[in-house]
Amino acid sequence: MSASGRRRVVITGLGAISCLGGGAAAHWDGLLAGGGEPAEVPLPDLNMPTTRMYLVDRAGVPSEPSSHAGVELGSSSRLAVAAAGQALADAGLGHGSCAAVPVVLGVELGNADAQEIQRSAGRTAWTTLTPTAAVVGAAIGSRAEVTSVGNACSASGFALTIALDMIRAGEAPAVLVGGAEGVTRAGIGAFNRLGAADPVRCRPFDRDRAGTMFGDGSAMLVLEAADHARRRGARAYAELAGAAWSCDAHHPTAPDPSGDQIVRAMTEALADAGLSASDVRCVIPHGTGTPLNDVVESRALHRMFGARTRGLPLFSLKAMIGHTTGAAGAFGCLTATLMVHHGRTPANVPIDQDPECDVWLPQDRPVPLDAPAVLVNTYAFGGNNTSFVVKPLTGDAGGGHGGHR
């Protein structure tokens, strides 16, 4: 229990598959090596100027499961199952021990690639766009709650908070949570049309940024009540200490220039974690590369951290793996966890920084983090915001072993 009497929630399992490869270790090594490079999207009929994403090596996309309850599955469900298996194995939860483990996933255009390939082939029957959470539930043998959250680019940020609340409320001692997205012609096409698709790469905070560039993949985490993890001797990487939600109520796609609601989400996430702004040692921003988003978020960070902002390292994750949309929050949480675990933040991708984005993106070398708390932001169309805090294990949140190193 925390000082407030709430159950503390720790992260005991990590799984990832992205353009950086498969597994949390490959993810961390890939970040230290400078991230991935965009490639041509393997879909037919891509009639648009920008047709690249940060892609999982196609040889690394599992071939199974190929269907679920009669629904032909695209890549996102298969990536999700692979990442889920990694996270559960990492947490020491083998198949057969997951019947009571709920699944909470952020999934937006989950099965789009399967449907788009079918459409190009003239097949039109509708099947669900969002089977992924159920596919994962079946794959791990869960009989518990299976939730699919569709909040676009902040979907898995919301999923993480739902999982946190489930554990705090005593509904489950452990939850598998994450996000997964495949490739999508409609998604890239819409961003092309809206002028939000960068033809070069994902360049958050760069003066020449021209929109975002998507990435596919899946990130999964096992969240667990600290006392439950300790009793079974599980290693805990870090604590998911707090989270908050807000909504701009401003515009269908653009962020509110005032940044009021994203400041509120950051403020309330820190309060939920029992921390203050001075405790934050690194921020993983939403930072998509869309011109207005990066300026608004930079200004909001100044409102949060004041004069300290210019000395507060930001880690621009999307510059390395692209914008993984529904999975972005889960990748952010996974990356923050690895930062806390390894005690440093990787160097950012070199950029020509926009002076309007007056934030610190250390690019020369990794930055050590002393007793760090990492704040992660995820935002989406409609101004749907989440912020959450990952921090080192302290006191009774400590797991069997592990922690900061």
């Binding site: 709650e145 809206l194 909504c247």
Partner: protein, 344 residues
């Protein structure tokens, strides 16, 4: 399983052949052309180009907010929230957008509807309409998302993330190509449903529970082992003290069949009302059932439930305690409800 109970203090619905919550137990009707008139349901500017399901959701929300007697507006904007379920609300539009890309290129996409590739855009419009800054959440599990929306709203309220929540579901009819090539519809109704239903919910401890209270739980039944696993999953979900009547929204899938057979064992304990669905029915039907039950007239608190299951394996149960009340101006529509059909 689930956390918290919500008081339902307002309800609104926009669906073909439905005049209000008192009609909500009627079988789904075909969405005949012109059944929804934007200028009547949503007078004012800025609605005409919105996708149909977004309009239905806005219309149903207006009715629910009005029905709550101003309680939503009285709640601080940072404590107002929405949890909305969608399955195929944007499916026909997404197909249309993708066809445009395939045939004419992305440059020809209409900018007004392109953002609706993100299914959360349907619910996000609610935040603009009602100045909702607490949070706005979209859930999309097949069939069960509407009931899961109750569960998630209750959990978020219990965690202090909101004090008044619009809990809704919205769908739009599939395109002819999408539905014609799908599984055959039951003779009793369309394969896919159009419309929206919205409940105005507050903490059960604070609200006056004008219509009653609701709480929801959910579980997962692997379709590949549905028959063998049904008892293990459904026993804890339904519990030892089932309500007097359960409305079961089930299709002919392996999961639906297994659930129906398990429900047969409740004979004598409670009435099971079969609500036949197709795999393309979407997530509106179960929430509409919740609304219909809450709108019924009773002289004493009455327990009932809605159980829904998807072919993909998600199962959700909404447990209701309907408040004693007279359904003023709305006759109890038991006669329009399907008869108490036992599953074969």
């Amino acid at each position: 399983m689930g956390t918290g109970e919500l008081a339902v203090t307002g309800m609104g619905i926009a669906a073909p052949g439905i005049s209000g919550p008192g009609d909500a137990l009627a079988p789904p009707a075909e969405a005949a052309p012109g059944w929804f008139r934007t200028e009547t349901a949503l007078p004012g500017r800025g609605y005409r180009r919105l996708p149909a399901a977004c309009k239905y959701l806005l219309a149903a929300s207006r009715l629910a907010v009005a029905d709550s007697g101003g309680r939503f507006a009285e709640t601080g904007r940072d404590h107002r929230a929405a949890v909305v379920a969608v399955n195929h609300a944007g499916a026909a539009l997404l197909e249309e957008l993708d066809h445009t890309i395939m045939r004419r290129g992305a440059a020809e996409l209409p900018p007004s509807t392109s953002p609706f590739i993100a299914m959360s855009s349907f619910a996000s419009r609610l935040s603009l309409e009602h100045d909702i800054t607490g949070f706005n959440l979209t859930v999309n599990s097949p069939v069960t998302a509407g009931i899961e929306a109750i569960q998630i709203a209750a959990r978020a309220v219990a965690a202090g993330r909101a004090r008044a929540v619009l809990v809704g579901a919205a769908e739009e009819t599939l395109s002819p190509g999408q539905s014609a090539a799908g599984p055959p519809a039951r003779p009793s109704g369309p394969g896919s449903q159009a419309g929206a239903a919205v409940l105005h919910c507050e903490p059960a401890t604070e609200g006056d529970a004008r219509y009653g209270t609701c709480m929801a739980r959910s579980a997962f039944l692997d379709p590949a082992a549905a028959a063998a696993g049904a008892a293990t999953v459904l026993g804890p979900l339904v519990g030892d003290d089932p309500p007097g009547r359960i409305h079961a929204v089930l299709d002919d899938s392996a999961v639906g069949t297994a659930v129906a057979r398990w429900l047969d064992r409740l004979t004598g304990e409670c009435d099971v009302v079969a609500v036949p669905a197709t795999p393309q029915a979407g997530c509106l039907v179960p929430l509409q059932r919740v609304m219909g039950l809450l709108a019924q007239e009773h002289t004493a608190p009455t327990r009932s439930a809605v159980l829904a299951a998807s072919a993909e394996g998600t199962i959700a149960l909404a447990e209701l305690t309907v408040a004693p009340r007279r359904a003023a101006a709305v006759p109890a529509e038991e006669n329009r409800e399907e008869t108490d059909v036992r599953f074969p």
